[in-house]
Symmetry: C2
Subunit: 391 residues, 2 copies
Amino acid sequence: MSRPLDDILVLDLTHVLAGPFATSQLQDFGARVIKVERPGTGDDTRAFPPFLQGESAYFAALNHGKQSITLDLKSAPDRAIFDRLLARADVILENFRPGTMERLNYGWDALHARLPRLIYGAVSGFGHTGPEAGKPAYDMVVQARGGVMSITGEEGGPPVRVGASIGDIVAGMYLVQGVLAALVARNRTGLGSKIDISMLDAQIAIQEHSLAITTATGKPPGRTGARHPTITPFSTFRASDGFFVIAAGNDALFARLCITLGQPQLAADPRFATNEARCENVHLLKRMIESVTLARTRAEWVAILDQAGLPTGLVQNMAEAIADPQITARNMVLGIPPRAGGPAFMAAGNPVKMTGLPDPAPRGPAPSLDGDRAAILGWLDQPDSPSTDAD
Amino acid sequence: MSRPLDDILVLDLTHVLAGPFATSQLQDFGARVIKVERPGTGDDTRAFPPFLQGESAYFAALNHGKQSITLDLKSAPDRAIFDRLLARADVILENFRPGTMERLNYGWDALHARLPRLIYGAVSGFGHTGPEAGKPAYDMVVQARGGVMSITGEEGGPPVRVGASIGDIVAGMYLVQGVLAALVARNRTGLGSKIDISMLDAQIAIQEHSLAITTATGKPPGRTGARHPTITPFSTFRASDGFFVIAAGNDALFARLCITLGQPQLAADPRFATNEARCENVHLLKRMIESVTLARTRAEWVAILDQAGLPTGLVQNMAEAIADPQITARNMVLGIPPRAGGPAFMAAGNPVKMTGLPDPAPRGPAPSLDGDRAAILGWLDQPDSPSTDAD
């Protein structure tokens, strides 16, 4: 019991992705997370496919190990329970539309006056300030508006969505940073902080390259498919059975690549002699390289290039990734302990490996809706118990 | 002066992207960051285009406000300086190949024995454990191998790289989480922790949807361009002057969309009556919607749909994004104060808005190589000074 957040209780009013992703990480750091859900349906993702035995694999992946209680924050008896939870909580997180918590009289100002140590974290589409504060957003909307779709996709093709939901995910990661920073601050000041994360803000924050190019040159970058915009050859290539990556970042690596491919004359060809020339003739060079690489499998090429000290890697789908020996050795795909008779789901492991954190993290099954009510109420009735797991 | 990390000194041995991105965020939380660079060339990104007055806009975006000193960690006099810095530091971060710090006798075990409060954070391609520990990796290699390229791109087209460097960026964000969690833990235990972040691990952690589908069904998801894989219509659409997004997530929103587009009959058409039917006929529905949307500009459509309460948004390039009133109102694109006579660069703002953190953050220009040597050495000669900025 020496995890960084072992004594921290998080009341989690969030649903769907950004918030539950954040509280899942706080849990991996040792926090106890009580999911306060809407009576009747709970978190929308309980109804997201795919299902096993009628239960959502998606919900399980994001919520395993949390506890669940349903509360109607407009009903007096449920508010009384919620108030007792708040009195013991270190952190409350929500992803309602801005203004919702104020209407319930649980806004930051009201809570901070009552509970000065409580940390309050909010994640929303556009944040709590600015002309569009209060408007909802989806992952796809902030990916579109924040610019990442404009630089993702084939050269000359339409904009493409990033396959991972980075609109939500990155915002959730910044929420975790804010909560942890607020815990550091509270150790000194004794006071909680309010954290206000906007999904759209977070998209700008992660595009350092596009932002530097645009602000320095006035010209926003466009799409370049699977190749590096200014280094060649640095992209995917076709093998006989799929794609792999070659990342030859300088002339020496390019010369070594040409020898390894059995095409030493390419390195001396003036069309490919410098990175600038290779960038100008990028499509021709790609065809010439693929005329060789199509003759073998991608696994053969990765082994050959790896042996030659050339940066390379398979393009893997998720089924291949979860069987990758490096990924399994790092405990990055874990079985979730099932409830008795329940389905066996899997989830991502904790990417923050650190001393004092057991890896894999000990986390239980995903909670059934309101499944921990009795345990939570019993724990609240114990006046001096610490905020560790009730069950 | 009440920022969460106001009293924290970070020695930053990292270069290029994941590490400097992490220390930039720690700086926004109040930390002082001293960049320890290789004599002669320093951080590789000092030579990355684009340039203004011969200085890299890319380097400036990631390193403004940090201090720079060059040290050769194989030379005795420089090691003596480094040892004095270590004695005052709270955090040391590096992104060398695993094993490099051990060979310099600055590995975690050696440092922890000498300086038990010091927090040690490492970020590398594959981490410090597992069969491929020690191998270098690039952003493109981990995007390929971690699976995100397999779900990014056009339906039926080749895999596409995510335009933002999320291989590095997400790993850097997890490093920040680890450092903050270690600071929380140190407040209780008095001891530092070692953090070991793998870029490949981080890719698995951010793909909750693909992982849930793959592990529950055995079938990895593929590419769907700019549309949601299981909700229709939820994608980009063409207007007369570019692309915008419509996210009509249920039957009621679809019916409202049809009315708003002046095509109420579409909602009654059995080919589009349910989400399942709409997914089956997704390409036909897209053509029918675009036959209407091509008649007006995307700004007109976004205004019309917004007015009707339909989730929508422009697909913006970075030049458009940095002029977006919501983004500017949130201080997400900032001018970096120039050095006297130096170029005026810009950078992303801090996406973590919280009480106690001034926004925009007060950060100075990017350091010239070794530009703070005199100030740092002078500060080291003051025996009892706190670890706040020397200049």
